[in-house]
């Protein structure tokens, strides 16, 4: 019978085959992709033998978008169509764009009511679409190196990213056809790479200063459990700002009010960056940019000059350091190690200041550019279901408080910052008018008391509330934050048990409809055979579902199901297996949905039985057999 076949080794879904999964560090300046290959994680090289891929995309009417080094080379000649630092605008609105230095460098479409977009020769490109192009490149690099389709990826985000920024990252992955196994906070990823390496137990601070973002996190490591205690940061502060400040200094020294055009400004920025990098290892250097008789920027610059330029910026990183200590209730002396992450921590002053602040030497022995991608790859390997020796568990937190707007524009906090996720909190509301059938809620994120000082996340409208007298309806609204740090909201009228429907209008970002439209548009323009890709994705997903449900059935199907119920599910599996042999993506999708629906009762019974055992204080080994049997059956 079918079930026996599919759990047999070497059959349809090849259970012993390793599932290809990657960790992606989608950085402001550079991006990396890493994977676990024969037991150890390493960063994958692209076709030019490079492991850092500049997060730059060049758009042209003549060719497909260029990503990476080849795009970077176009920056001086075609500045408006060469997009960099798009990550800074992920999940941001028009106001944020106007305040960013990017506004001086690019042409934007800031039409109200839609998300901001770079104007390029091939049309408007939102930060999400630019990021999707970078992700596609990383995906192609990985699939080429690993020789197969990816089952998914762990994508890292700054710990201090808010809900809109996280959602934007997930949307970009969806556009590039990557299944996101988890969004992982960059410092947590670094801690995994560091912790597994050193076997340290205790509290560790991860100071992460990248191209465009700063994060500080305190983690408690204990026997493979990585528990984030507190996190803080600034999503608009990084090495790019150093470059800008140094460039401004050099320009002012040359007596120039501003650069004549974008192209020369780009050249100056590149010069500033190279000066910064040189001064990481020497005391002084000279620079020269000769554009014309009037525009001649040259001179000498010393480490002391650079320190004076960037010190005010760096001081901005210390307040968040104090904040995490306070939030975690930890003294500086309790911090066992301070790990430096991100390319910008190569700057000597950064190391000195952080070392002075924590009153101990900082750790720089792991490559600050690779460590995040490596940690993400380790986690991706675990999440994809490839059994490893590392018994790893990451317990992360929500970085910013979630709240609701109340009377007078004040914020009522629903979930405070640094709460361990996933977490759910219910809040009860009541109608204030007779016959009221709808209610509006405004969700914000941030620490301030006034709505206007926090980030607006979304407006929810509860509809279909039963019409009653004022106060008779009690509506319970459930705020659920998942393990990716993403919020979802559901509502229930408590008397009638009626689910109120919810219309969500994200303040910054895309609605599901918009994503679908973008996907369609990208498919029409893409040169690769998208149908083929979609089919391959459906097949991977279909096999995953068959495997998950079959192994659960094998473990305790007979305990929870009658003979008839079992026969029904077996038939649905059989149908899906048949569809997987054919090449009809829609048919596979339908068969998956039917199997998921048909087996939901079984899953529910099984899970609740597990909980009862857990509650009854069942031996842990016993639980392991029941709950993770689906893992065990595919162990190699």
């Amino acid at each position: 019978m079918a079930l026996l076949q599919i759990s047999e080794p070497g059959q349809s879904q090849a259970p012993h085959q390793r599932r290809l999964a990657v960790g992606i560090d989608l950085g402001t300046t550079n991006s990396l992709v890493a994977s676990v290959i024969s037991g150890s994680a390493s960063v994958l090289k692209d076709e030019h033998e490079q492991w850092t891929i500049p997060s730059v995309v060049h758009y042209s009417t003549n060719h497909e978008p260029l990503v990476g080094k080849s795009a970077q080379e176009k920056a001086a000649s075609d500045p408006f169509n060469t997009i960099r630092s798009a990550k800074r605008l992920m999940g941001k609105g028009a106001n944020d764009v106007q305040q960013s230095w990017l506004a001086d460098h690019y042409q934007f479409d800031l039409e109200t009511g839609s998300i901001p977009a770079f104007k390029t020769v091939v049309g408007n490109k939102s930060a999400i679409e630019v990021s999707a192009d970078i992700l596609s490149k990383l995906r192609a690099t990985a699939e080429q190196t690993l020789g197969g389709d990816l089952v998914g990826a762990v994508i890292t985000v700054p710990a201090y990213f808010d809900d809109a920024q996280r959602q934007a990252t997930k949307d970009a992955a969806a556009l590039s056809g990557i299944h996101v196994l988890r969004l992982l906070n960059e410092p947590t990823a670094a801690a995994v790479a560091y912790g597994l390496d050193s076997g340290t137990d205790g509290v560790v601070a991860i100071y992460d200063l990248g191209g465009g973002t700063f994060d500080i996190s305190l983690l408690k490591m204990q026997r493979g459990v990585f528990e984030v205690l507190a996190t803080a940061g600034n999503t608009a502060l990084g090495g790019d700002d150093f470059d800008n400040a140094i460039a401004d200094w050099m320009r002012t020294r040359a007596g120039l009010e501003q650069m004549p055009d974008q192209s020369s400004h780009r050249q100056l920025l590149r010069l500033a960056r190279s000066v910064k990098e040189q001064l990481s290892s020497q005391d002084k250097t000279s620079y020269a940019l000769n554009l014309s008789d009037e525009i001649n920027i040259s001179g000498e610059i010393s480490v002391a000059d650079v320190n004076a330029i960037i010190e005010p910026l760096l001081k901005n990183t210390l307040a968040p350091c104090r904040q995490v200590l306070r939030d975690a209730g930890i003294a500086k002396t309790d911090v066992k190690a301070v790990v430096m992450v991100g390319g910008s921590t190569r700057v000597p002053l950064v190391r000195t200041m952080v070392s002075e602040f924590f009153d101990q030497p900082v750790l720089t022995d792991i490559d600050p550019d690779q460590v995040v991608a490596i940690g993400a790859a380790v986690q991706a390997n675990v999440l994809a279901g490839n059994k490893t020796d590392d018994d790893l568990l990451l317990l992360d937190v929500i970085p910013l408080s979630l709240g609701l707007e109340t009377m007078g524009g004040l914020v009522e906090k629903i979930i405070p910052r640094n709460t361990t996720i996933p977490i759910a909190r219910a809040q009860e509301f009541t109608t204030y008018k007779d016959g009221q059938t709808a209610m509006a809620l405004h969700v914000v994120q941030g620490e301030r008391e006034l709505v206007s000082d926090c980030r607006s996340l979304a407006n929810f409208e509860l509809r279909d509330i039963p019409a009653r007298v004022a106060g008779a309806c009690r509506i319970q609204v459930l705020f659920q934050v998942d393990a990716d740090g993403l919020l979802s909201v559901s509502a229930l009228e408590k008397e009638s048990g009626v689910l109120a429907s919810i219309d969500v209008k994200p303040s910054y970002g895309l609605s599901d409809g918009e994503i679908e439209q973008m996907l369609k548009a990208s498919m029409e323009h893409a040169s690769e055979d998208v149908q083929k890709r979609a089919l391959a994705e459906q097949k991977v997903e279909g096999r995953r579902v068959v495997e998950a449900i079959s192994s659960a059935l094998e473990a305790d199907g007979d305990t929870h199901l009658s003979v008839d119920e079992r026969t029904d599910i077996d038939a649905l599996i059989e149908t899906l297996l048949e569809k997987l042999e054919q090449d009809n993506g829609d048919a596979i999708k339908q068969a998956i949905e039917k199997l998921e629906a048909g087996s939901s009762l079984f899953v529910e019974r099984r899970m609740n039985a597990s909980v009862k055992q857990l509650m009854a204080g069942q031996e842990i080994e016993e639980l392991e057999r029941t709950l993770v049997s689906s893992d065990a059956s595919r162990e190699t």
Binding site: R326, T420, I423
Partner: protein, 179 residues
Amino acid sequence: MQVDFSNNYFELFELPVQFDVSQDHLDTRFRSVQRYLHPDKFAAASDAERRWSIQAASFVNEAYQCLSAPIKRASYILSLNGITLDEETDTQMSPMFLMEQMELREAIGDAPDASDPYAALDKIAAQLNDGRRNSADEFSQAASNEDWQQARTVVRQWQFLEKLVSEVQSLEARLDDAL
């Protein structure tokens, strides 16, 4: 699909319903339970299992956070015994207690203008921490005597202290930002 966690937080942590708990025990049990329920363990499972895991892990996180914070633990014990705090309707407090509160509030308000604001805040924080410890002891005593009215009074006063603690902390954060 709803997760039926009809049992209370204490049962989840294999503890009797009592105020005095060992944080070590909570930590250990929390980690071992999350090792089996956390969504990361279900990344390759079916959608239904993944949804279940999010709900289950959320419940465990909530339980852990409640039992790990003394004031939340105390309030939870009250609610298990059918005692509500009626924070909004019942505002009656002893005059003596209110007087102390006003003095503390004034001290916090003056702290930023002190010659060493951090030292001034540290002093207040130490005083508040003593108050919290006393509240915990008093609650523990009242709860073991099953004197729920007394226990309720203790928790209501304790809430004021917690509010002041968070005010001190946000004041510290504001001072930090100004550095």
